[in-house]
Symmetry: C3
Subunit: 446 residues, 3 copies
């Protein structure tokens, strides 16, 4: 049974609630690209799926980058003259510019303002800002909150540490029959932001849970990493494994109510690009395929010209195009259980196509084989044929060792699962044989 069928036997409402509840559990943690928040997050994921956790020391060189100091934070606030916390990290971890150096000072409002970030157009939302690679400090707050600050002196405290430590990331590796790998990469370095990080974390975790119980063709490697530096670190430490990656997906921002967007790999015509486009075409929601561009999530690293891996990025609303992006409004209300479940369902279809996509050779390629005598044709001559029979004709006609089942699905306009079922019936009838990867390579070499 394919994953989609297994998945569809669940109660989808319940699946959505479980996805949302994992996001909710992770939401309050103050994550960053290093530190205890990230470790705590991995700890909760590890309760669900097997995780191997890696620590990489500060100062390690990874390609053009260096692992930064580890950042941790306990508390932060701005107090007014009366000692009242007018900005309080305990109420939202977005209030502190992520990676702020420790500070404990008194200063007038005019000086403080140079360290304050707001969104004048969205005066009730707190922006999300970081300063990973430039030592600085700052607070983010609602614009209205800032306007309400009276002149006078303020006490500023950021009780953080920035010191030699480690960068942490985790892998969930699921071994399949082949050493060829599918990479699923999610960043988990954002603090209380729901769509832009936790939706991806929750869907990837759940997908790994489903896959862990199955007999798999490919091996699957799920990465839970800090954005940018995490992908760079993983690539730098795993150069020998990179050639095993046959397909890959960055999953993120897939919990909101928007339609699906898939950003193609740099190659633009990789199998994963074809697979995701097919899966999106045959689900119910609006979807759009975007050309590759070098700005975005960690596909930026996987698709850098030296690697040029077949890795695309599956999203709902695209980063930067919705107002809630990188603000406090990207909260647990912004992600919807039903949408997360539907995203997981699309991932199941993608996995089914990747797992089932093969090349076959028609063993009776001269004229059509007589399907009737094998009970694979219609009963009465003169009538129209069914979709099942049509799928069999397509598979027989295009199984010349060059077309994959997905090619056949695309050319016929039929669903991959219908084509896949037809191929299986024909294979069992002795009319098809799978073309091994090696045969293919050999015949291409001739």
């Amino acid at each position: 049974m394919n994953l989609l069928s297994e998945f569809d036997r669940q109660d989808l409402t319940k699946v959505g609630e479980e996805l949302h509840s994992l996001a909710a559990e992770l939401y309050p943690i103050c994550r960053s690209i290093t530190g205890e928040g990230f470790r705590q997050t991995l700890g909760l994921i590890k309760q669900r799926i097997p995780l191997q956790i890696f620590e990489v020391p500060t100062g390690t060189e990874v390609f053009d980058w260096t692992i930064p100091k580890e950042w941790n934070i306990r508390d932060a606030y701005i107090k007014d003259g009366s000692g009242r916390r007018v900005v309080d990290f305990q109420r939202s971890n977005l209030h502190v510019v992520n990676y702020s150096i420790p500070v404990r000072e008194r200063m007038p409002l005019s000086e403080l303002k140079q360290h304050l970030f707001t969104l004048p157009d969205r005066p009730d939302w707190i922006p999300y800002r970081t300063s990973y690679y430039k030592e600085a400090w700052g607070f983010c707050l609602a614009h209205n909150q800032m306007l309400a600050l009276a002149d006078g002196n303020y006490e500023v405290c950021i009780d953080s540490t920035l010191a030699a430590g480690n960068l942490t990331y985790a892998e969930c590796f699921l071994s399949g029959r082949s050493a060829d790998e599918v990479l699923i990469s999610v960043h988990a370095c954002h603090p209380s932001l729901a769509n832009d990080n936790l939706s991806g974390v929750a869907v990837a975790t759940s997908l790994a849970e489903y896959l862990a119980k199955r007999d798999l063709r490919y091996s699957y490697r799920f990465l839970f990493i800090p954005g940018t530096i995490g992908a760079i670190t993983w690539l730098a430490r795993n150069e020998s494994k990179i050639s095993r990656i046959h397909h890959g997906l960055v999953l993120t921002g897939i919990g909101d109510a928007g339609g699906f967007h898939y950003k193609k790999s740099r190659r633009g015509n990789a199998e994963i690009d074809q697979v995701v486009a097919h899966a999106l075409r045959h689900q119910g929601e609006a979807s759009e395929i975007l050309e590759f561009s070098p700005y975005g999530y960690d596909e930026r690293q996987y698709c850098s010209p030296g690697f040029n891996l077949p890795v695309g990025c599956l999203m709902r609303s695209v980063w930067g195009t919705f107002p809630e992006y990188h603000t406090s409004a990207d909260n647990l209300d912004f992600i919807r259980p039903a949408k997360m479940a539907a995203s997981l369902r699309v991932c199941a279809t993608i996995i089914d196509v990747l797992e089932g996509n093969r090349r076959y050779k028609n063993l009776k390629p001269y004229c059509e084989p007589q399907l009737g005598k094998r009970d694979l044709y219609r009963s009465s001559g003169g009538e129209a044929i069914s979709t099942e029979i049509n799928a069999r004709l397509w598979v027989l006609n295009l199984s010349d060792g060059e077309h994959t089942l997905l090619d056949i699905a695309e050319r016929s306009g039929l669903q991959f699962s219908t084509i896949c079922d037809a191929a299986e019936v024909l294979r069992q009838s002795g009319l098809l044989a799978e073309v091994a990867h090696d045969d293919l390579a050999a015949s291409n070499a001739l």
Copy 2:
């Protein structure tokens, strides 16, 4: 003179009537994939064109198939309690499921109904049904006819024979200057169905008559065969000739009032695909080009992956898309003399392009040759040029040994005949030389 010009010197109304009258002559015969009806049909065609008739014994293996027993029928009826023929083969040969085994029984209506086929949505039409490869019997009748049957016992008689014999088919071979062949294939195994079989038979017969009188570049092989098993039989018995087939067309369903449809060969970019698209673009009626699909007529066999021949299918209305398809309403009124004549006219254009399509080499390729001194240019400088001169410029510019005249016609948007005339004028002026097929192969091999 090209075939189209020859053809257009006829009275088109008369041409249409002759085509329709051949269809009318063949209409009453009860054809099947084997038997006397098929032989009788070939006999009438043979009065018009040279035909070689082949008989292949029952039991002969042809690829995955076996030649079935031969079927013949004299009479069939259902009589009611009063002895009245309520369903009578003598009134329409569609009343019997084609290939019905002999039966002579009495049975109550309830039992009889398991052998009756009707079209509830078209209650006055008789459906067409067959059971070639599963021994069975049945009657087809108008739904209203069935509703009028009273309860009671009925006498059922099918006076058929199903016994060792032969499958019959015919070839009309017209020898050209080259051994390279054009295949024209029509099925002739349907009983009283006018568009779906007799329109193709009539147009192909007439086309062969025209071609038989001409000096031909290609050799032409017209096949009059039973659908599916006939094409399979021909391919199985002629494997050595298959490499000679350079272009091919299945002709069928080209007598009704619908616009033209051309279903491309499996290759999708064969010369025949380009030729038919050009011919359809430059005639007056609506037309549509369809991608290849594995269900359809005998192109299914010619385009099976082992052969992958450049054979497309030219139709007017597409099988299964018009309600009359495979019913008694596909009768002599459904096919129109004027439409049959226009179909033959399109075939003439296709032949002209196939016969005339060549590659030339411009013998003065550096700058334009001076057409004026050869009287091939306009008389007064400063004015616009005519279509004839424009065609000459196109032929000179693109005759680099790679572009065919059809390529040039397509790229210039001009008609093939205009381009062909221009090439002939330039050749006669010593400005062009034909590129032999061998030269081309040699230069491609370098």
Copy 3:
């Protein structure tokens, strides 16, 4: 500084007026494909840019053509019975069919009419007609002018000479760092026609003036030639130089108020085709890209199949599509100073792209290099990136030695200059190295 920036520092109104004034200075001269009018035209151009002038004797064979006799004219008229000049060459040089043989006769109106050309649909305009290669004489006049001619005898005089002499043309060669050449070709053989020849002459002359002051990557060869026979003559006499032509443009008809049209080279995908399309996409006026066709201006010769040079044709309104074409209405009012300036501006963009288009190799191709530490990234994490930074990411991602900067501009949708600036910044930071042409050839050969 690129040429466009230099150009935009001028007063565009003044630039337009200068262009128009050069056209106005050349307008009264009676040019033809040979003779003093052409020499006089070159003399005026030579006051602005360095010109080498070539004379090719009558009778010289150039490919399929022969240099014709030289034509000169002093006066021409038709006098009525009263001795009044009813048609007078001194009022418009279009009145004489260009290349008319000398004539001095008296004849009745009926006989004279066989030598008169008019435009009945545009009864007030004088047509432009030539008879270069057939010895003939004639007059062109307004249709209303002809209608006003009373019956009676007329005195006809064409005081021309047609005798052994020379064909004249000129080159302005600007030597660049490379021997690879850009060809700019304009015809200058039309008499008082403003858009169809003088607009191109003026823009090309001005472009050469700008380029003469610059350090150039390519060498530039501007040709001022008679149409057709001039291009053929140049090609015939310069076969050894032809392989140096890497890009080329025919400039003509670029002074009228219509939008831009670019007719692609015969190759259709040459770099010049891509460059001009990019330049037109990023300027403000309407523009259209036309497929190559063999009729037109001198690209006919450069794109003949034996040469197949990467030469396109940049115009505003296309020859033959506007009523003023080849009539006295193509006068100095028909060309607009502002439009000529805008045409020159598009040429400047084209030159900038040609000069700046290179391939680079990302020297840190594994993951993104850390732009932040080089001060090439945004200051605060979490915010959107600027177009400049986006351009840097595009250049880094696609600089794999295969994509040119123009490829990157096209794929990113950004302007070439933005991409070019990004590449320069990255090169200065040591992140990019130019791929030499030789490296490229070597890697392609592998």
